[in-house]
């Protein structure tokens, strides 16, 4: 909390500095590290269209934050605003405690990795990685050793003399990452860096990015539309849609405690049952199923809600088998409507007796996995989340 001193006659009174606190209030106090980036009411309009509604977002030092969302959700706009490539229509950008809203990109001390690599085609790998050091006027020997170190980190020793076009996409992106880490910027921005690569390379580079972040401890802001990438890499994910932040939180928060149907639907698969609160921690669905849910806190009896159950949290047993139901469990019987086999796991759609259709994921087995087979499905009360409408 910071204060400004206001003099009133002879007395000096400490008044909270409201400007600075407004950003601090919006972020959860998980740890005490300083904010590396703080966006305060930053928004962007293009010709009267609000592509980014005013948002507040803080990224702590050393944190890996992913901006996740469908295309057109405003995630790249935020990244471009942080980079200084576009100016926000409103709001302030604080980088490392300094208001950089009016500072050009070259003075912000950032690094950026682009989807299409953005390597200089006329320069060799060495010269590309040396570029940021040369513009800083470093000595030749220093440049050579730092470039060698950066290339070693990304596994490209021996490629110094190649031109970018002689490298594969994955190698080019490694050069681009080396070019970024070589001058140790305080923040690295990554704009869908794996978007142009095929699946296998993507997974490989994803692991490398994760390792580099762990080793270097640099603050990273990462943009992607790939939820698995986001969940795997990030300390926190900022899920966006339609130019608004839908939810900010750890991957666990977003997956297990989504605040809205959009978040629940965007991350992973979900079963959503419409209904209304009928008692404390009890929801009755439209078709009359009475479900025990984790918490109905903040809902009045009668208020319409949706109940979220993740497919992998639903258990299934043959109808004849002894039920494993306990008091904590929601149990209903039904028939298998559809089953699709995907190797180790399978996806089963069960039509419940009351008419609801539930999708569940289960370990594959041969037993009675026939469409039409009667089964009993159950899930723990704690796995049924209430989403307010």
């Amino acid at each position: 909390m910071s204060y400004v001193t206001v003099s009133m006659g002879s007395d000096e009174v400490l008044v909270p500095d409201s400007k600075q606190d407004s950003a601090a209030d919006t972020m959860p106090a998980i740890n005490m590290k300083a904010n590396m980036i703080a966006l305060e009411g930053v928004g962007k309009q293009y010709g009267g269209v609000q592509v980014l509604h005013p948002i507040d977002l803080a990224v702590r030092e050393g944190e890996f934050v992913t901006l996740l969302g469908p295309s057109g959700s405003g995630k790249t706009t935020i990244l471009s605003i942080i980079a200084g490539a576009i100016a926000p229509t409103q709001g302030r950008i604080i980088l490392n405690g300094r208001d950089v809203s009016a500072v050009p990109p070259r003075e912000r001390g950032l690094g950026m990795v682009f989807q299409n690599y953005a390597l200089l085609p006329h320069l060799s790998v060495f010269d590309n990685v040396a570029f940021p050091l040369q513009v800083r006027g470093l000595a030749k020997g220093e440049i050579a050793s730092r470039v060698a170190n950066a290339l070693e980190r990304v596994g490209l020793v021996g490629y110094e003399k190649r031109k970018p076009r002689e490298l594969s996409g994955g190698q080019q992106q490694r050069v681009s990452i080396a070019r970024c880490i070589v001058y140790s910027p305080s923040v690295i921005l990554m704009d869908e860096p794996l978007g142009a690569l095929d699946k296998k390379l993507r997974e490989q580079l994803q692991a490398e990015i994760k390792r580099l972040h762990r080793d270097l401890g640099t603050t990273v802001v990462y943009v992607t539309h790939d939820q698995e990438e986001a969940l795997d890499l990030s300390d926190r994910v900022c899920l966006m849609n339609g130019g608004r932040i839908m939810q900010v939180g750890t991957p666990n928060d977003l997956y297990f405690e989504p605040v809205s149907e959009f978040v629940a639907d965007f991350l992973g698969e979900s079963n959503l049952l419409e209904g209304a609160v009928t008692a404390v921690n009890t929801v009755t669905t439209r078709d009359g199923m009475v479900l025990g849910v984790r918490s109905t806190e903040g809902c009045c009896v009668g208020s319409p809600v949706k109940v979220l159950i993740r497919p992998e949290k639903i258990g299934m047993t043959d109808a004849g088998a002894p039920a494993i139901a306990t008091q904590r469990h929601n149990v209903t019987s039904g028939k298998i409507a559809q089953a699709s086999f995907a190797g180790g796991t399978m996806r089963v759609d069960v039509l419940c007796e009351k008419g609801a259709r539930l999708r569940l994921k289960t370990v594959s087995s041969r037993a009675s996995e026939l469409v039409g087979a009667p089964v009993v499905v159950s899930w723990a009360t704690s796995d049924a989340m209430v989403l307010k409408n």
Binding site: G111, F114, A118, L119, L120, F131, P132, Y183
Partner: protein
């Protein structure tokens, strides 16, 4: 799995018929193309054998093959000085045009600013106005400034004449540049000048060279403006050729024409050789 749209039967059949027709008449097509090229090129190329005829002879085919016309050309001080004058004017005009056109093309191709269309129109306007009109205007204007008959006057006129063409060539190169490269460079801390020198210009090199070759040829060939602006002391090669055709009809003109034609061919080949470089994608 993506579905490949299937050709319908009739589409396939039509394609086969067109292929067959194309194959049957391929000979005819080639012959037509040959006739058209011959019709346009022959009058130009015919001066080359003529230029190897004997002194005082201008006939095709030459009765005996010598280099006498070239000897006469290079021993005549009037012809040599006009060749040197043309070279000087073209080099200076090209240099100035590049210095003006490259920043203009980058600015116009890369950035949006108020009045951009007006600036673009002004830069391009020498292409729209008939050359004779431009020449007359320049003549009247330069006579006030006492620039008529001077090399500087001619260089300035040629700069105005060739700059739009260089701007167009370089702008095509600018449009192919990936703006992310410039953004990347400035995020890495490069100042504007460094971005221009280390990122933009190296990538534009092929289109700048092509533009320069083009500018040089245009200036070297230019006769109308030069006719108005030059004096006997500053006569360029095309003006000298034009006057010699009018007054003396010396067979030396064949040797000069042959040289000019070869210069054009060499320059065109050079720029064709260079242009694939600009077409290459930047990644």
């Amino acid at each position: 799995m993506t579905q490949v749209p299937k050709c319908t039967h009739s589409q396939k059949a039509r394609g086969i018929i067109i292929d067959r027709l194309a194959r049957r008449y391929a000979g005819l097509r080639n012959a037509m193309a040959f006739v058209v090229y011959a019709f346009t090129l022959l009058p130009t190329l015919i001066v080359i054998p003529i230029s190897f005829g004997g002194a005082g002879e201008m006939s095709f085919p030459p009765s005996n093959w010598t280099l006498e016309l070239y000897e006469q050309l290079f021993s005549s001080s009037a012809w040599v000085s006009s060749i040197l004058q043309s070279t000087k004017v073209s080099c200076l005009a090209t240099l100035l045009a590049i210095l003006i056109a490259v920043p203009a093309a980058y600015g116009l191709g890369r950035f949006d600013f108020p009045g951009k269309r007006l600036v673009l129109f002004l830069v391009m306007s020498p292409m729209v106005v008939p050359v004779v009109v431009t020449s007359l205007g320049l003549y009247l204007y330069f006579s006030r400034l006492h620039l008529v008959g001077t090399t500087i006057g001619l260089v300035l006129s040629h700069v105005a004449y060739v700059t739009p063409f260089v701007v167009i060539t370089v702008m095509a190169g600018v449009n192919k540049l990936d703006p992310a490269l410039e953004l990347a460079a400035s995020i890495m801390g490069a100042k504007r000048l460094a971005v221009l020198l280390k990122v933009v210009l190296p990538q534009l090199r092929p289109s700048i060279i092509a533009g320069a070759l083009f500018a040089f040829l245009m200036s070297f060939d230019e006769v109308v403006i030069a006719w108005f602006i030059t004096s006997p002391e500053t006569t360029t090669l095309p003006v000298k050729m034009y006057t010699s055709v009018q007054w003396e009809i010396s067979p030396i003109i064949a040797a000069v024409s042959a040289l000019l034609t070869m210069l054009s061919i060499v320059f065109c080949c050079l720029s064709i050789f260079l242009l694939p470089g600009t077409a290459e994608p930047s990644r």
